[in-house]
Amino acid sequence: MTDAELFHSIIASLPEIVVVTGACILLILGQLVRKRQEHFLVAASVAVVLIAAFATLLLASEVRPAYSGMFIADRFAVFFKLVFYLATILTFLLSRKYADIEGIGSSEYYVLLLFALFGMMIMASATDLLSIYVGLELMVLCTYVLTGFLRRDRRSNEAALKYVILGAVSTGIFLYGVSLIYGLTGTTQLNAMAEAVTGDPLDPGLLLAVVFIVAGLVFKVGAVPFHMWVPDVYEGAPTTITAFMSVGPKAAGFAVILRVFLNPLVAASDVWILVAVIAVVTMALGSFVALVQDNFKRLLAYSSIAHAGFAIFGVVAGGQDGIASVMLYLLIYAFMNLGIFGAVIMMRNGDFSGEVINDYAGFAKSHPGLALLMLLYLFSLAGIPPTAGFFAKFYVLVALVERGFVLLAVIAVLLSAVAAYFYIRIVMVIYMREPERAFDPALTPMVRATLAFTALGTIGIGLFPAWFLGLAQQSAAGG
């Protein structure tokens, strides 16, 4: 690489450099922060992300390939990075009070989140199986640690252990697929891979490799059949981390899936039907199993499996509208899911865990405003207009029907009627039961800001989707 190329590469990856440098500085500064000054950590972390976001927007105007084809800064990556920033910043804002209550107010918490963000950003920009791997591992290693952050809580420890073991296996599978591809095509770059495979029928070895890679990626977004870790890990992890994992890393997983799956190598192959099956089974499993959950976090875990299934429907549709529909879905999901998690996190106070659904009985009576917000997020998750959740599903369905997958669309809507049941059940508990206890939500200005912002997004995108749709469509077009 010449100096000029290196310079260009550094410019292209400026946001990543900002985040990783900021994380390193915070790691050192974090040791100097005294008790009761943790506000500084939140402020500094948010500042780092904001600077990165600013840099990202500055670079958004053109496509910048970098690091000899390992990395690219294009609109597709920009869109996903914006979703990551959104998820990370809102997680920071939700974390402060929660960390206090749970007694996990150490600086590593924020630093690890920044590193996870760094990993996700690499995933969004990676154009080579190896750089994908690097980003992926960086991200999951941080989330492994964060999952086990409640050191004195057995569930948290168990969740972390489970996550590490299963995650390592899935990584192994993914790497095996990568090695097969390299062996067969002699390259790991996505574009070169497509060029290397022109002859049909497709080499069975390659198909096998693709299946392995699919399996590795499907694990990260929590789709069937690699979903088993999701409920346990989501339940055991600190709720703030659950919120983060259900939005950020999941979106990162989809970024990679879109890049890899929509590569001609995969799109042309018989593996495609596998993706459709995964979508159907994932959504069905998530929706049906969620029906019987009593724990709010577990329910949201299954709900997030179901939503992943719905987003995969968008992948199945493919084409530019299909890609755009997945991206818009993830953006909207970030708003509504962080909103509902914000509400759950806020409930964690004193002896109240906020985890048992029945504990929310009569919440509407004592806190009508907050209950209305929860109602908004829940109806949005269920996909009822005029909330954003409806438009997200609507656009995926449009993409499906456009491609002629009407049957899949019918299956998708029937399963969302099933899924609607458990969201509405929570609304029922909140609104239609008598309160059994007093509520004292941990409402700090930061939590308030988060809830207001996510509510604004949930209703705003629902009523005025045009601009966001345009953004997703442009970003899906790539350069």
Partner: protein
């Protein structure tokens, strides 16, 4: 685009709901809600006054781009059919506020907000000229209605609310797929008028017909997807029942008129025997079920199934008398059944029982109440001189013209109607005054009178002089029929 009267009608209740959020006292909430709905009613009357009955064209149209990338617009407009229902919605809106004046004691603000948002969305359904807008309003109504039933309803409200929600949602979601499929088959537009002008292949039409049928049949509701209705009606508070019976059930029938018939004419003609048979089934089956009820509200609820059977029969008779009768009957059913639910609510507030067996001799303790109850009962029975007579006669003559057996079934249903309604009235109002001894019953007060009177006026007005009402829909119906038969027979 002239003065945005339709938007004003739509946004008046919506803005009212927003204002209510900031009010503190329950009385202020009630009065504001009343003022808002009355204002909305005045606007709706202005709409009818300015309505040109000589044309079938959409009037008071407004178009603003909404999501240009997908061809979605905020497009409003009314023809004769929708104008009538915009008016009905506004009318029943005021009545509902009055009906819940004292019946709703807790969370008055939240209730009125739900009621007003409900009204805005219903008006949106009737005036939307964009499929997407239509669908959003159609579906969003689930939220306030779910809350109205589930929070302020009776003892089994949670179950009823769930059932209502899931039935309608499952039906509507398939409709959504139909809408999207129509979008791609009809040249990537959601413009209802442009889609109406499209000529789709028969195969596509029949698929879409069934996708739409499921959604509309649930809303109407047609047998066999009617089972949510008695639960929802019985559990809902009075205002909820009035809205459900008066407006919500009309939406399914309106869907047939606005989408199935004009957009899928060949399929509509082809499947009309099926629809007629289902209607006849609903008429007779609903009547039999009503005959067996002891609960006043259930009786009215099941009678609705029967009456809505007349509506769908009129529509799918696919002739001018049937269609005009069906549409008029939609309006009539809204007025009459809305009033009957109001009356059930009034007496329930006083006695806290809905079992017919608990009543008797109401005539002696509440004469005014029973006189008006008689009027609406007779109207529901379609006695000459009342509104339903005109509608039912038209439907029957249209039904007989379409199919003899179906017409005969409808006559049987009408007889059943006389049986259960007269039986109900006898057991409630006549006989020795047993209720007077058990409950302290006062007659209707001035506020309740204000709610009742306009409905009574329409019962007699339509019954004695239906011409203005038929005039409003006439041009649109003729145009609709021409559309169905020109294209429907061209296969």
């Amino acid at each position: 685009m002239g003065f945005p009267l339709l938007s004003l009608i739509l946004f008046t209740p919506a803005a009212g709901a927003a204002v209510l959020m900031f009010l503190r006292s329950d009385d202020a909430v009630r009065w504001t809600a009343l003022v808002v709905t009355v204002l909305d009613l005045v606007l709706a009357i202005a709409l009818l006054a300015g309505f040109d009955t000589t044309t079938h064209e959409m009037q008071f149209t407004e178009t603003v781009p909404w999501v240009p990338a997908l061809g979605i617009t905020y497009a409003l407009g009314v023809d004769g059919i929708s104008a009538l229902f915009v008016f009905l919605t506004a009318l029943l809106g005021s009545v509902s506020v009055l009906a819940s004046w004292v019946a709703i004691e807790r969370k008055v603000k939240a209730f009125m907000v739900s009621l007003l948002s409900m009204q805005a969305l219903m008006l949106g359904v009737f005036s939307a000229l964009d499929l997407f807008l239509f669908y959003v309003c159609w579906e969003a109504m689930l939220i306030p209605m779910y809350l109205i039933i589930g929070v302020w309803g009776g003892d089994g409200r949670v179950y009823a609310a769930f059932k209502f929600f899931l039935y309608t949602l499952a039906g509507s979601l398939l409709f959504l797929i139909g809408v999207i499929a129509l979008y791609f088959h009809g040249g990537e537009t959601f413009d209802i008028l442009a889609l109406t002008a499209q000529d789709l292949p028969f195969r596509v039409q029949s698929w879409l017909f069934f996708a739409f049928l499921i959604a509309f049949a649930v809303k109407v509701p047609m047998v066999p997807v009617h089972t949510w209705l008695p639960d929802a009606h019985v559990q809902a508070p009075t205002a909820g029942s009035i809205i459900l019976a008066g407006v919500l059930l009309k939406m399914g029938a309106y869907g047939f008129l606005r989408f199935s018939l004009p957009m899928l004419p060949e399929a509509s003609v082809y499947f009309s025997p099926l629809m007629l048979a289902l209607s006849a089934l609903a008429i007779v089956y609903g009547g039999l079920l009503a005959l067996a009820q002891d609960d006043l509200k259930k009786l009215v609820a099941y009678s609705s199934i029967s009456h809505m059977g007349f509506v769908t029969m009129g529509i799918f008779a696919l002739n001018i008398r049937g269609l005009e009768g069906g549409i008029l009957q939609m309006f009539n059913h809204g007025v009459t059944t809305g009033a009957l639910f109001l009356f059930v609510g009034l007496i329930y507030e006083r006695t806290h029982t809905r079992s017919i067996a608990d009543y008797g001799g109401l005539m002696k303790v509440a004469p005014v109440y029973t006189v008006f109850l008689a009027l609406f009962t007779l109207s529901s029975m379609a006695l000459p001189g009342t509104n339903s007579f005109v509608g039912e006669l038209l439907v029957l003559s249209g039904g007989f013209a379409a199919n003899l057996a179906v017409g005969a079934a409808a006559v049987l249903g009408a007889t059943l109607g006389a049986a259960y309604l007269l039986g109900m009235y006898r057991r409630v109002a006549l006989g020795p005054a047993s209720v007077g001894a058990r409950f302290k019953i006062r007659d209707v007060n001035a506020r309740e009178m204000v709610a009742i009177l306009p409905l009574a006026v329409f019962v007699l007005w339509v019954g004695l002089y239906p011409k203005p009402f038929l005039e409003i829909i006439d041009a649109s119906v003729k145009h609709l029929l021409a559309e169905v038969h020109d294209e429907g027979s061209g296969r």
